[in-house]
């Protein structure tokens, strides 16, 4: 069955609002975007949306009680919250260096979770 979905483009400040027509998961038509980048974004956004994840994990013996972390690449949007919940219950030990891998290949998604700053031990 055909379904129409409105998509706000986030590629540039123009913020075009267009429409994507999908039928059983396949894109049938894209309209309302003023450039090819917007169309490409809209296609991905309705078929396989992806997001970066930034959150924190607990750290023992560091200057601060929390260590900010970032995904090495985008994650499937529907897995972001599960990853964040998992990381909220994780504790690592200081010291940590920016770029250190905190969780390799999280949930087998092919994306690492890495430290986004140095945290010295105290």
């Amino acid at each position: 069955m055909e379904e129409k979905r409105r998509v706000s483009c986030i590629v540039c400040p123009l913020s075009c609002e267009g429409e994507v027509v999908i039928d059983s998961g396949a894109v049938k038509a894209v309209s309302g975007f003023s450039c090819p980048r917007g169309e490409a974004y809209a296609r991905e956004e309705v078929t396989a949306p992806k997001r970066m994840l930034t959150t924190t994990v607990r750290i023992k013996g560091g200057q601060l009680p929390l260590l900010p972390v970032v995904s090495s690449n985008t994650l499937p949007k529907d897995k972001v919250t599960a990853c964040a919940r998992f990381l909220a219950n994780l504790e690592v030990n200081a010291p940590v260096k920016e770029g250190d891998v905190i969780v390799p290949n999280i949930f087998g998604l092919g994306v690492d979770i890495v430290a986004s700053r140095n945290l010295k031990a105290v």
């Binding site: 986030i10 400040p13 924190t56 601060l64 929390l66 970032v70 949007k77 986004s116 700053r117």
Partner: protein, 420 residues
């Protein structure tokens, strides 16, 4: 009292101060950065989300990642001294700074040039005068951001956010990821002041309703906030009777604007711009008092940290020119005025120096969102420069370079405005 001498003293170790320090260190021997927090980096350290540095480093960094790049540059330069945990108490016109910290107690430093880089702070409940009781659980979005991202506390379990600026939107997502339920975001204006990408990725992704043209009429709760009464507003921002509704919450976050932090500059009598709430500066970021420069959010609230760094670099460079007496003589002073749809412009003054015809970059903000307009820079009736804009939003600064030779032909005043 301990006394020290430096060539350039920078007050504030956030992105503006760090960039100013790196740039100043290339022109003078001794640079000092004074920072009141326990570490350098300023507010970037609590902005753990990514998207910083696309202009400057051509990649998307997190806030701490962006800060680390500059902290490294500062640490690599042996002529930059950093004082942490240090509060500046006063600055005087003879360029003496009195500060205090746990190691030195009260101390004095003298400088040849001073750069203000104190950044900004958030508007609070007092600034928007929301009626109701005074319970716990009402805090600014930035304070909550520091609690959640750095200190390890969650300020509530059921949150309402007032204001849809980027900090409010980012915090809506952040609180959701930490398991807090975000009831709604309310925005008094008919549009969001945040970036579209933040509305999409921080609200829509988490099914958080955004009520445009709404505000909070009353805060409820005796010891802890229990809820808020909200209502729709008309074009004059007055609440419309009959549209009230109640939202239960144990936390209210305010994201209702930022104010440049200019206590030190005001006390010194530095001339201020009432619209930006920052000092009036020229294109070198020099204020009306010679040898005093300003950069970053203390001058005007920026939307991208990349521009803050750029401004820090400019101030740092020309502070060294001042310290080394190589600034040259001023040939002409042009004031930059705003009209018809343009709200602010920085710099507010252009000082043309002898033998200098460098372009001057203007950063402007419009008063309200508009489409298909032309930004014009006028010298009286004559057009100096025009730029067509497909969209103009108050949340996104407009940047225009005005060629130096064109400025030389202008009178003592130019005006930037929108033509529809």
């Amino acid at each position: 009292m301990r006394e020290q001498q430096f060539d350039v003293v920078i007050i504030g170790g956030g992105p503006a101060g760090l960039a100013a320090a790196v740039s100043a260190s290339q022109g003078v021997e001794r640079v000092l950065v004074i920072e009141r927090d326990r570490e350098l980096g300023g507010i970037l350290q609590q902005c753990i989300h990514n998207g910083f540095g696309l202009h400057r480093f051509k990649e998307e960094l997190t806030g701490p990642g962006y800060a680390a790049r500059y902290i490294k540059m500062v640490e690599e330069r042996s002529n930059i001294t950093v004082m942490l945990d240090t509060m500046v108490l006063s600055v005087s016109e003879d360029k003496t700074v009195i500060g205090v910290n746990p190691t030195d107690g009260i101390f004095k430093v003298s400088a040849k040039a001073i750069i203000f880089a104190m950044g900004c702070r958030e508007r609070t409940r007092g600034a928007i005068r929301t009626p109701g009781t005074r319970p716990a659980g009402v805090l600014t979005a930035g304070a909550a951001q520091r609690m959640v991202n750095m200190e390890g506390y969650l300020p509530g379990e059921k949150v309402v956010i007032l204001g849809s600026g980027d900090i409010g939107l980012i915090m809506a997502r952040r609180m959701s990821l930490e398991g807090t339920h975000v009831e709604a975001v309310l925005e008094i204006m008919p549009y969001s002041n945040g970036l579209t990408r933040n509305v999409v990725q921080c609200l829509n992704d988490y099914d958080i309703p955004l009520h445009l043209g709404h505000t909070i009429l009353k805060i409820h709760g005796k010891h802890r906030i229990t809820g808020v009464t909200c209502a729709k507003v008309d074009e004059t921002m007055k609440p419309i009777p009959g549209t009230e509704f109640y939202l239960e919450c144990d936390c209210l976050l305010l994201s209702v604007g930022l104010i440049p932090e200019n206590e030190l500059s005001r006390e010194m009598g530095i001339q201020m711009d009432n619209l930006t709430s920052g000092p009036v500066v020229d294109q070198l970021r020099q204020t009306n008092i010679p040898g005093f420069f300003a950069a970053g959010n203390v001058v005007h609230v920026h939307d991208l940290v990349d521009f803050v760094s750029e401004e820090g670099e400019i101030a740092g460079k020309y502070a060294t020119y001042y310290a080394n007496h190589t600034l040259g003589a001023v040939e002409k002073v042009i004031s930059v005025k705003t009209a018809d749809g343009v709200r602010t412009s920085v710099p507010q003054i252009v000082r043309l120096y002898q033998d200098d015809s460098q372009p001057v970059r203007l950063y402007m903000r419009v008063a309200k969102p508009e489409r298909k307009v032309t930004l014009a820079i006028m010298n009286g009736e004559q057009v100096v420069l025009e730029k067509k804009l497909a969209v103009a939003k108050p949340g996104e600064m407009i940047v225009v370079d005005v060629p130096g030779d064109k400025l030389k032909t202008c009178g003592d005043k130019i005006t930037v405005l929108l033509k529809r």
